[in-house]
């Protein structure tokens, strides 16, 4: 029976609720309704009193999660959309992220962020927030690209003693299917080679892994073997796997769906330049969304975010250098 990325997220929460009595889920419309995307479908029925509807009060929702975490619970917060986590920003970056460092008392919680663009979603239902949160010390930021990772990384996130920002991509929710859930998986902090190659490395994460794989398939027809690294976790970031790949290919393109100024791609490029300058045969490149808010109209949206063809184009330029 095939499972979607979304179902994997539900299954992980199901399992966490069944194995750990300190887990509970808090968010808008998550109880009987099962969440705006149905990621918590039926869980409130199976675990009465542990899947609770919250008022539209993101700041307080995070405050509650933090307070409960300090008392030994393991809250999972669902933001209805990643974009609305801006209202909880203060609690996340100033309270949750600093807590262990300040007090020595851990603050284990998971904030699930339905992230990323889908056609017609516009500026306030499409954002990628991983770069923002990764900037703050004290947070773990995960960006699963596969059904298996959605499952195993969410379970690992719940078990971690640190606050975790779990960026799940809405575009993958229904599209992506796998036959079974993984029995074992890479640990958080390890990147994955999604496709082996030798002419250039694409370092990416989340939905862009799939765009990059399509671009690599196109370039294979032109005789180029492109290696694709799926970071999986953007903080911690697996520099070793990235550098080892660049050592094989000599060329780097980093692709992210978030805005271009700073961020995960800038971080990857900075690390490769600093620690692997001698490995490079060409200036490392990055490809991000455009430096404007995310447009509503699908024609504009498709040109705002990196696509397989834009990635292929960037790769051709990189390979020509």
């Amino acid at each position: 029976m095939a499972l979607t990325y979304l179902e994997a997220i539900r299954e992980a929460q199901h399992r966490a609720l069944s194995t750990d009595p300190s887990v509970f889920i808090y968010g808008q419309d998550v109880a009987v309704f099962g969440g705006a995307f149905k990621a918590t479908k039926n869980l409130s029925r199976e675990y009465p009193g542990r899947v609770l509807d919250a008022p539209i009060s993101e700041d307080a929702i995070l405050g509650v999660a933090i307070g409960a975490a300090l008392e030994g619970m393991r809250p999972i917060v669902e933001m209805q959309f990643a974009d609305f986590s801006s209202l909880a920003f203060n609690q996340i970056v100033n309270q949750a992220a600093t807590h262990f460092w300040r007090t020595g008392v851990p603050c284990p919680l998971v904030v699930r962020l339905p992230s990323g663009g889908t056609p017609g979603s516009g500026p306030f239902h499409s954002q990628m927030m991983e770069s923002i949160y990764a900037h703050y010390p004290g947070l773990v930021v995960l960006t699963p690209a596969t059904v298996g990772d959605a499952y195993s990384m969410l379970l690992e996130a719940i078990a971690l003693d640190d606050p975790v920002i779990f960026c799940e991509h809405k575009f993958l929710y229904y599209h992506l299917k796998e036959e079974a859930l993984p029995q074992e998986s890479l640990p958080v902090g390890k990147a994955r080679i999604a496709r082996m190659g030798r002419h250039a490395s694409v370092v990416t994460y989340s939905a862009m892994v799939h765009e990059a794989l399509r671009a690599a398939a196109d370039l294979a027809l032109e005789g180029y073997e492109i290696e694709i690294i799926d970071l999986r976790s953007v903080k911690p970031i697996d520099s070793d796997t990235v550098l080892a790949s660049v050592a094989r290919t000599g060329r780097l393109l980093c692709v992210g769906e978030s805005f271009p100024w700073g961020g995960v791609c800038a971080e990857v490029v900075a690390r490769v330049v600093a620690d692997g300058f001698n490995l490079l045969d060409a200036p490392p490149q990055r490809l991000n969304a455009r430096d404007t808010p995310i447009p509503y109209h699908p024609n504009l949206w498709a040109a705002h975010r990196p696509t397989a063809s834009a990635i292929a184009e960037s790769l051709r330029r990189l390979l020509r250098f």
């Binding site: 009987v32 509807d53 974009d83 306030f124 100024w261 404007t292 808010p293 509503y296 040109a303």
Partner: protein
């Protein structure tokens, strides 16, 4: 007594006018919903069915050009009544470059800020303080006439932004009308999971402002209450909290079947259709004939048809024509 009849005529005209805006909003949203279901509109579609009386009554109580109106997702009727051109929603939903949002933003996220209609962002509660700022600017500029209205739902009253803005407005004694459409649900969440006070109007006392409760399904009552609240705000009595009690007669969005709304609740007085009630009211009081209502229905249906047909012929944005610049100055980011 001539004065009484002048007032009566004015009241009749307000009722008839507001009813027509409600009808126009209803027919337009039915059209938009069907375009959505046939795949011609992408993204979210949020409808105001059941809330037209509350929304239109506020819209007609304000003056475009003088006042400020910050609608939310269920205020098609109020927007049109305030003076939003019918082409604006049609063009915004269909992504036309000729609409006020030029395809960059869509659906309800539209406005004409230079004309007193700020363009809402999705983040609930965020618009209330923006209206406060617009009112403070008017005051700085010596304009003591303007009233600003901000619309929210019951769910948005749980946001920190809402609380901060209402408190600030009270401190500044701003001429702000806060219209809360309590439609019993925030998406699937019923009000008892949203707040524990008996009645949202009770909060007015806590903020130190005036509060008014109204049956949101009754157009005549909504008109009376909003007219009064706007007049109080304009006369310098500070913010006015108006809470309309009603039921959302549609899903949260066009994608939602609202199966979580109990059938029994729909059969209570809350579930009455404000449009039907308003039509009956006009007829019973002899303010309109059934034939007149039918004629208006045909007229607004034709207006909607034309607006949508126009918007459908409009050019849509093309990536090649985009500047991809978010800064207004010519700085290079």
């Amino acid at each position: 007594m001539p004065e009484v009849s002048v007032a009566a005529v004015a009241e009749a005209e307000r009722l008839r006018g507001a009813y027509r805006w409600m009808l126009l909003a209803r027919r337009l949203e039915e059209k938009i919903s069907s375009l959505y279901h046939s795949g011609k509109i992408v993204g979210g579609v949020y409808l105001g069915r059941g809330q037209e009386a509350f929304s239109a009554a506020l819209g007609v109580s304000l003056w475009r050009g003088r006042d400020i109106f910050a609608p939310l997702i269920r205020d098609m009727a109020g927007r049109l009544a305030f003076g939003e051109p019918l082409l604006d929603p049609a063009r915004t939903y269909l992504g036309s470059v000729l609409g006020p949002m030029r395809g960059r933003d869509g659906n309800i996220h539209r406005g004409r800020p230079a004309e007193g209609m700020p363009a809402m962002i999705s983040h609930l509660g965020s618009m209330v303080s923006v209206v406060c700022g617009m009112l403070m600017a008017r005051r700085f500029k010596g304009d003591l006439e303007a009233v600003g209205a901000a619309c929210v739902g019951d769910g948005a009253t749980s946001t920190g932004a809402f609380h901060e803005a209402v408190n600030l407005a009270a401190v500044e004694r701003l001429p702000l009308v806060i219209a809360v459409a309590n439609n019993q649900f925030a998406y699937s969440t019923p009000t008892e999971r949203q707040f524990a006070c008996r009645d949202l109007t009770d909060r007015a006392a806590g903020y130190g402002i005036e509060g008014h409760a109204v049956d949101g399904t009754d157009l005549a009552e909504c008109l009376m209450v909003f007219e009064h609240a706007v007049a109080r705000a304009r006369a310098g009595h500070g913010p006015q909290l108006v809470v309309g009690t009603l039921l959302r007669l549609t899903g949260h969005g066009a994608h939602d079947d609202a199966a979580y709304v109990p059938e029994a609740l729909k059969r209570t007085p809350l579930g009455r259709d404000c449009l039907e009630r308003a039509g009956q009211h006009l007829i019973t009081r002899g303010l309109a004939t059934p034939e007149e209502l039918d004629r208006w229905d045909r007229e607004v249906t034709e207006e909607v048809r034309q607006a949508v047909a126009t918007a459908q012929q409009d050019p849509v944005p093309e990536a090649a024509g985009e500047t991809w610049r978010a800064l207004c100055s010519d700085l290079q980011p």
